[in-house]
Amino acid sequence: MSNLLLFPIIIPLIFATVLMIFPKNLKMQRWIAVIGAASTFVAGLFLLAKVQSDGVQAVTLGSWPAPFGISMVSDMLSVLLVLSSSLITLFVVVYSYSTIGIKREQSYYYPAVLFLMTGVNGAFTTGDIFNLFVFVEVLLMASYALIVHGGEKPQLRESIKYLLVNIISSALFVAAVAFLYSVTGTLNMADLAVKIPEIEATGILTVIAVMFLVVFGFKAAIFPLYFWLPGSYHAPPVPILALFGALLTKVGVYAIMRTYTLFFTMNIGFTHELLAIIAILTILAGCVGALAYFDVKKIIIYNIIIAVGVILFGVSQMNEAGIEGSIFYLIHDMLIKAALFFLVGIVAVLFGTTNLRKMGGLIKTYPVLGWSYLVAAFGLAGIPPLSGFPGKLLIVQGGFEGPQFWGSIVILATSLIVLLSVVRIFIYAFWGEPVETVPLKKSSYYQMFTPTVVLVAITVFFGVGAELFMPFISGAGEVLLNPSIYIDAVLKE
């Protein structure tokens, strides 16, 4: 029993609540938001040390015995994800200072960000499938508020669709939970992992597994459920977009990862093959979008979809290399997507448009920006020694060891398309004839650029120092591959 694992959930919640009391005090809003995000990150670090030394942490709320109360579980995977999401939120808060606009800052922007953080960290930590639904709703409520924040016309229009899609997927979530409860009689994930292998009717369980895949697929934007993502994500301003792109779809990916390794393992031949096929189709669909658009935001948005496919393909292989690769790639993708959105955001501010055709020649005036963009772009495509490489290598290796070797070939081939799609931004925006840029104060440029370049540096470090992080990654993979570790930690308290 340790309450430590709840700190990354409670801290942003309390800070967000305090921030709601005085929305107009700009200085206090900024400082308290950044302190909240930073202290969440620090709590995550303590938790990481604890999990590393003592193994999986679990606490069942309200002192109920384990399968009856709501369990919160923190294994290596969830700690790593909590840490990366806290880190990204911290950077987004700092990046927002000069990009989001004072009017938005004074109307509950920072509380919404911190509520989102509460939901995301909660979803990563919970050990109960219905509680997962609750935390997903918390983060969705915050995301509704953020996507429409400021109330511009495109935002209003797109948020209606975003809201509608998510309401439908939430209703499906409740329905899927209902079916699962009627078949197994429990909703505690560890207890499910014990009960599901004892049930002989695998047919109905397979149906439920696919229902959950649809539910989480809506959040994770897998093929063919990604249709809502490009439009909705295009509407809000860049810091919110970075937050969404880095965190929201990843919650869906994490949920698929958790359920498909912990308890929906009764019919791997069907469910996991389906997951692999869908993952590959997701990658292909994302590639088409990433090449088709001349809008910098859209290109990176479609790259989110590609990454979701790559990660899920690794999960579907259910072998050590595949799972470890997925975990590594998941963390890499959270960091690199935030960094890329930051960079693209600066480019868009400088040109005053997101249309690539109206850009050019930025490398002459902002060389450091150009080269850090190139580094981030190479990192996304997985060029060694940058951070995309180790994860992709392991996923491809997992594919060759597993049943769907053709998937690995697709991933390798599409890496080139990813590279092309992001380098296209470099070629159009940074090379070529200089186009007049919007004059920008040096100080506000550096306010945007500093968090960006630090984040890019972190991704580089994550790639070059991959050897350093591998023990954590394989620790996380071990728990996913041996559910008994997870089950013992929860049920034998």
Partner: protein, 140 residues
């Protein structure tokens, strides 16, 4: 557009207090039987909304000069704070405590930490619902 609804206004003056008292009853009934902070909060909101319908928004704002967003925040803090108090006592989050006390007038009463949590829920529900209604109702 505003008409002088004498009947509605006269009835409201009485009914509002009945609803408010009933809300308090439901809130405390939630201790052992159906009821609690959520329903109590909704009832209170309905009383305030009735006032708004019978009179108008500015009058109600004069009667109840409350910032509902702050009210939500205070409620959330109260609820989270009650739950988080268990951290201080080093028991799992949300663990509740209760005991029986002899109070003057009321006799033997059971006091429960969950009631504080429920009071937080009550404030949150009233705060959130009123914020929503004010947002829509502000521009007539």
């Amino acid at each position: 557009m505003r008409t002088n609804d004498v009947m509605l206004q006269t009835a409201t003056k009485v009914v509002t207090f009945i609803i408010l008292l009933f809300a308090v009853h439901i809130f405390f009934a939630g201790h052992y039987t159906p009821g609690g902070g959520f329903v109590g909060g909704l009832l209170t909101t309905s009383a305030i909304v009735l006032l708004m319908l019978a009179f108008d928004m500015n009058t109600v704002r004069k009667i109840l000069p409350i910032n509902y967003v702050v009210m939500t925040a205070v409620g959330l803090l109260l609820a989270v704070g009650t739950a988080a108090a268990s951290i201080v006592f080093d028991v799992p989050f949300f663990t509740h405590a209760y005991d029986y006390f002899d109070l003057p007038l009321l006799g033997e009463t059971s006091l429960h930490s969950a009631m504080l949590f429920d009071a937080g829920v009550y404030l949150v529900v009233v705060g959130v619902t009123m914020t929503i209604i004010q947002t829509i109702g502000e521009d007539e």
